[in-house]
Symmetry: C2
Subunit: 317 residues, 2 copies
């Protein structure tokens, strides 16, 4: 991609999403002795960054999408993003989800009129069901992390950060299948190549981390984690190549560290974040990384946490 | 004040505080059929706008403050702001609070090394105790809402909003003694006089509302409200004059409406706001006002809500 490609993507997405605040955190800055910023993607429509790839994916194939409808599989945030974007763009949406998807995320997708189809419990069953429905109905398939549209859409997050920060920085990015991490890394390497780009995954799972160790894509199987948005058991083929080439490091965080980050963000920063959205802060607070720069940006990717899960965390304190 | 005065105040404060995000809310915009923005003062150090007047009040009298120490009375947010600013500026701080102050706010003031003195239960007892200590110790007294420094400091909130929004707008501002409302109104009338400026108070109390009705300052006595930052039982003499002249309207919200706004901000906007910080959104959601403009800004003034109070609200849903 060249400058004009990045800018064109950003322009397309900006018409339907918000430029999210890059919020300076007095509390975390004091605690870590660095300048800590939070890229607040959880303030997007549908409360996660996934509206960006959802809009670009449909906009880039709008005629086909309007004719056939769109079909995707999601752990919940992409589902809501696609449902919302489809509704705004006059497109019918069908979404495959596992039976154990967060009730909040199922309701969030249905709220925008998407049809939800359940597929059993595994990551693999989502794609098997998706293939079956694609064959039956001939809908246009959107991929939540591994398509070119998705990766390109997420470059827009990096462009906004680069616009707000003149200096070089360390950037911590939540990762599941790698769509956001690869998109952001691509734009950072293009515009400000010396920035440090680090992916963060839950210990339970961590498919990209283990694949990087193995030097090839490996599956980590079904997991249950508080970071229920980060359950891809296999990195994308496209995303993995970009991550191998352009990301400095991928680190893991424990369930306890995720819970502590959700609590700290809630109590000290006054932001309600979901497990998957908190892992960048979790890695920072648990000192899982050595930031190369004084300025550190953590992406808060989503805020869709079930109320009873959050209440449990607040009660445990 | 002329342009250069406003700018000078903003410059002084900006060295110690953040320019808070003016956050577009997709959710509330959809719900209200307007363009709704949230001025997120709860992301300041000490989690409320009160750091602005705290810093300006000390900075404008720094030598005296360093020599004598500063003394103030507060329902809790100004206490934390003063404690924090005093610590940063090398000044000793003593703060008078009522016995029933939120435990979070007491801890927040002590955390920065301020001495806290309790004074009984009423708004009046705060000022009686303050006078007593002033006589005994000869400290420099800061006023949380009625001093010239405080009112001027709060003009900086308006300057930030004006910088972010080119158009005319309706602005909803939480009000207790009127320091923020009068400061904001002063700057708005100077720079963009046709904007609509509305104050919001809890029904329990509502000293400015009732004083405007009476045409003179009247006391509303001791109240208990979820908006524990908005318990001034008498408007300031200076603030009241400015409000009479420059504010379009002051409206009241019920305890139930405040609770509903805290819940909606938490669940839909992913922001943890305290009662007093939520009243602007409460007035909007309860349709207590007729916005004159398509663009509406609600000031979220603070986020210091006790965890058990919030958990009760989340549980009731």
């Amino acid at each position: 991609m060249k400058n004009s490609d990045f800018e064109e993507v950003r322009r397309k997405i900006a018409a339907y999403t918000i430029k999210t605040p890059l919020l300076f955190s007095p509390h975390f800055s004091r605690e870590m002795g660095k300048r800590i910023f939070l890229k607040c993607e959880l303030f997007q429509p549908t409360s996660s960054f996934k509206v960006r790839p959802a809009f670009l994916g449909i906009l880039n194939h709008l005629e086909e999408a309007r004719l056939k409808g769109v079909l995707t599989s999601s752990s919940g945030n992409y589902a809501q993003g696609v449902a919302y974007a489809a509704k705004k763009l006059g497109v019918k949406a069908t979404i495959v989800m596992t039976d154990d998807t967060s009730p909040l995320k199922i309701a969030g997708a249905k709220k925008w009129g998407a049809e939800v189809i359940f597929c059993g419990l595994t990551f693999e069953s989502r794609f098997a069901m998706l293939e079956k429905i694609e064959k039956e109905r001939g809908m246009y398939v959107l991929h939540g992390f591994d398509s070119c549209d998705t990766i390109q859409a997420n470059t827009s997050i990096a462009l906004e950060i680069l616009e707000d920060l003149p200096e070089e920085f360390t950037l911590l990015v939540p990762a599941s299948g790698g769509g956001m991490l690869s998109g952001i890394a691509q734009a950072i390497r293009h515009y400000r190549p010396h920035c440090q780009v680090i992916g963060v995954q839950p210990e339970k799972g961590g498919a990209i981390y283990h694949s990087l160790q193995a030097g090839e894509r490996v599956s980590t199987g079904k997991v249950h984690t508080l970071a229920d948005a980060l359950v891809a058991s296999l990195p994308g083929g496209n995303t993995f190549k970009i991550i191998q080439e352009k990301v400095d490091q991928v680190v893991l965080v424990s369930e306890e560290e995720i819970e502590r980050a959700i609590f700290a963000l809630h109590q000290e920063q006054h932001i309600v974040v979901e497990g998957g959205g908190s892992v960048a802060v979790a890695a920072l607070l648990a000192k899982k990384i050595q930031p190369r720069y004084e300025t550190v940006v953590c992406v808060l990717s989503g805020g869709n946490i079930d109320r009873d899960v959050l209440q449990g965390i607040l009660a445990r304190g």
